[in-house]
Symmetry: C2
Subunit: 134 residues, 2 copies
Amino acid sequence: MEKYSNFLLSNGVKPSVQRLRIYEFIHTNRIHPTIEMIYSNLSHEMPTLSKTTVYNTLKLFVSKGVAKAINIEDTEIRYDADLSTHGHFKCKSCGGLFDVMLKIDNLVIEGLDNFKIEEYQVNLKGYCNVCKPN
Amino acid sequence: MEKYSNFLLSNGVKPSVQRLRIYEFIHTNRIHPTIEMIYSNLSHEMPTLSKTTVYNTLKLFVSKGVAKAINIEDTEIRYDADLSTHGHFKCKSCGGLFDVMLKIDNLVIEGLDNFKIEEYQVNLKGYCNVCKPN
DNA sequence: AGTAAGTTTGTAATCATTACAAATATATTA
DNA sequence: TAATATATTTGTAATGATTACAAACTTACT
Ligand SMILES: [Mn+2]
Ligand SMILES: [Mn+2]
Ligand SMILES: [Zn+2]
Ligand SMILES: [Zn+2]
């Protein structure tokens, strides 16, 4: 995709075959995948893909700001190509990670006088509409 | 401390010497310590303390709900005995983890119709008032 | 005191992540 | 185009935090 290629380039990421495909994957499949999910999904069509490359690529993406790492759980890191302001909900039953729209302007924060806030995450957990006991 | 002992008991945690001292430590020192910090701070006064015990104890505390695990960073887990509703701010320079008061009632959340929200975390990052470049 | 149940400890095993160097691909120069 | 330099990928080995486990110890109960 030319669009993805230019986006990566404009953010200082040289779009190699692997990087482009990995970026396309996380941008298209909004499942907030782990490294393992990305690797197992792409290794079929790219048989020589190394897991090291997936690790390196996602680290590069996060450092260049083209993807975000979501630390909602201490047992896994999930990745998101959606850079817009939003939070996340993880279902304790199925493990699904859902986007949550936030009206963050309403969130009053106290206790940070003279602090410089650069980023934030709002992470929720519970049971999704499918898994919720009725 | 009798107070701590009773609190642990009422939450299903038998207050052994080690558990009581670990709980007292995280309740008194509001630095949101890691396992390593807890261990290195207490191993002087409790020379036989095993790091395994610290791991086991904090896992027990979290499962019994007497402490919370804060996943603000994928490189460390920090623990908090403060069960009240509040968020956290981590300084990227000194690593300090600060409490943040939230008026969370104002936070409008969309996209979770029929979901059951059980817990949430609000995690911020940036630079504290000491480390902030002027 | 003696027995049983629960807890702690030290060590060994596990496993996700990282380091590294060779191989491959891409860009640059002649 | 061929040669050379630079960047990226790959596979394997090393690392290190966490967990599994069984022996030692502590506590509660008879
Ligand atoms: Mn998202
Ligand atoms: Mn706190
Ligand atoms: Zn679910
Ligand atoms: Zn600081």
